[in-house]
Amino acid sequence: MDSFTTPLLAGTATGALLLIAALGLALTFGQMGVINMAHGEFLMAGAYTAFLTQQVISNTDISILVAIPVAFVVAGLLGLLLEMTVISWMYRRPLDTLLVTVGVSLVLQQLAKDIFGAQGDPVESPGWLDGNVDVFGYNWPYRQMFTIVLALVSLCVLAALLKYSSFGRQIRATVQNRDLAETVGVRTRVVDRLTFFLGSGLAGVGGVAVSLISGTNPRLGTTYIISAFLVVVAGGLGQLKGTVIAAFAVGIATAFFADWTSASMAQVATFALVVVFLQLRPQGLFTVRSRGLA
């Protein structure tokens, strides 16, 4: 039984992590066509925020809860800065944005290395996350449950924001038809910035969750970014449900592959799976528009 429950539950937790990372990506990609390769470094920024918060608030039970909103703001501001200084200059060149943000990602990684050292810094789990519960022979760590809860809460907040707030309506309008949105008075530039802030901020929240798995290190972003992108590719654009399903599918599939073969082969198999999936649904699971993403 546990050869089934372990990958299922562990994979769900990985999927939850991918979801938080991919939500922000899908949002900015879907709306602006911008591929932000530095998104992984926003994840890293979130993890370092968790570490720094712990230095200020030594009570680890509380510091992690404080770290979540702080990481959201820190990563969000980084994203906003990136949008204003770099990305806003090149909206008509999405592929070039991708490369510029590769450069940004390299610089941020090296910065983290210079500031915090290449050796990772520890992030201690709060006491209330220590421990696990036995589910059919799998000692399911509280930390994984916490990751899933965090992802679902982020998802619900984001969905509610998109659905009910006027900002959300403006985002959706911009995603569906930028030109039309502009003609009806949506200030798309402002919306873009807020979206970038929101998407990057989510990565920060994801970073806090990652820091509970592996502490911090400068290469932390690169570990997750490719999987997160695969989630966006498989999930399609413009609808959250595609990202959600794809994130959990990728997370769980990887866990099962890892269980059957090895963790290395699981990476290979997951990639193959996404390519095969694209043969069936070249535009991903769901998409609002099917125009080429060039």
């Binding site: 590769v102 490719i226 990639f271 390519v275």
Partner: protein, 362 residues
């Protein structure tokens, strides 16, 4: 005569580069620096292909390290078997494995098969992947991401297959290159010359491609893919052809990298290495004939010297290169220089002597 300049100007530029690489460089550079220049030439060969796929075809190939690696490993396998002697098997299989050699290594004993594989393997791999991607109209950023993921997966696969590919250590300790002892400086120079010659040959190939109708069709596909469809062409086939040629060029570069660097390992072919290849293309000018090659030579040289001068700042340089060049000079520094010169003189053409390969200046 204007048109003659347009036609032959690039050829003259290529010839100048050929003289610089094949005559000037060997006579002024120390064997060590010359070998390094050979390494940059390998990257430049791959860069020429990237220029074709990305600059002219609009396909941002972020996983060329994979094809670089296919060629590099194919060549390295042959060199390993050559070093092991007839009937011998590579040392690492005795050390880390069970002392038996996987069957698919066996054909690489043959030099002819190896040369064939260096061209055929990447072509087939690129054709399959490209077919799967282009026929389904996956393009733009999706394509870029998939190719990068492919590079990550490829490196992981190599690292995990220690008994078959040497894993993280890669393949090294080659002694002979098709019968020539690699530790003889004369032979090292020969390997360098072959590499530089291949670079020139690849440049002539893309020169012909760029001026051919295929070249026009490729640019047309880049700029208006759907419109090309209504010329009766399947844009997927046009892109596929460019992608396959780029893959083969990367593979040739990798194949020469193995004997020149003396090693091919996952860190030469992973996502970071692939990004590094793109850096040169962006710097030199993606859509120019000579831009990618000159850019790759410059970035290779920069990596050697800047990392000697400022070991800790090299990553900043590379990152800043991407940000500054793509943001401000998307057509590359050579174009920017050309434009600047064009302000003074009305006619504009590529002047290769203005941007000599950086490696040749030391």
């Amino acid at each position: 005569m204007k048109s003659a300049v347009r036609t032959f100007g690039p050829l003259v530029a290529i010839a100048v580069l050929a003289v610089l690489l094949l005559v000037v460089a060997p006579s002024v550079l120390s064997p060590f620096r010359l070998n390094n220049l050979g390494k940059y030439c390998c990257w430049a060969i791959a860069a020429v292909g990237i220029g074709l796929a990305w600059g002219r075809g609009g396909m941002l190939v972020m996983g060329q390290g994979v094809f670089f690696g296919i060629g590099g490993y194919a060549m390295a396998m042959h060199l390993k078997l050559e070093a092991a002697g007839p009937e011998g098997i590579p040392d690492f299989m005795l050390l880390y494995g069970d002392g038996t050699m996987p069957g698919w290594w066996e054909p690489f004993r043959s030099g002819a098969f190896t040369l064939f594989a260096i061209v055929a393997l990447p072509a087939v791999a690129a054709a399959i992947l490209g077919w799967a991607i282009f026929k389904r109209k996956v393009k733009g950023a999706y394509f870029a991401i998939l190719t990068q993921a492919m590079a990550v997966v490829f490196a992981t696969l190599l690292i995990a297959t220690i008994q078959e590919t040497g894993g993280f250590n890669g393949l090294n300790q080659f002694t002979f290159f098709f019968g020539y002892n690699l530790y003889d400086p004369v032979n090292k120079r020969m390997v360098y010359s072959i590499t530089a010659g291949l670079l020139i040959a690849c440049l002539v190939v893309v020169w012909q491609l760029y001026r051919s109708r295929f070249g026009e069709l490729l640019v047309a596909t880049r700029d208006a893919e759907e419109r090309v469809r209504f010329l009766g062409h399947d844009p997927a086939n046009v892109k596929l052809a460019a992608f396959v040629i780029a893959a083969v060029m990367a593979s040739i570069g990798g194949a020469m990298f193995a004997p020149i660097a003396g090693i091919i390992s996952p860190s030469d072919v992973d996502a970071t290495a692939s990004i590094f290849l793109i850096a040169g293309v962006a710097l030199g000018g993606r859509a120019l004939l000579l831009g990618p090659a000159l850019g790759a030579l410059a970035v290779g040289y920069g990596r050697s010297t800047l990392s000697e001068q400022f070991p800790d700042q090299w990553t900043y340089f590379l990152g800043a290169l991407f940000i500054v060049v793509i943001l401000m000079f998307p057509a590359g520094l050579i174009s920017a220089a050309g434009r600047a010169a064009g302000l003074l003189r009305p006619r504009r053409r590529v002047r290769p002597t203005a941007a000599r390969p950086a490696g040749a200046t030391s």
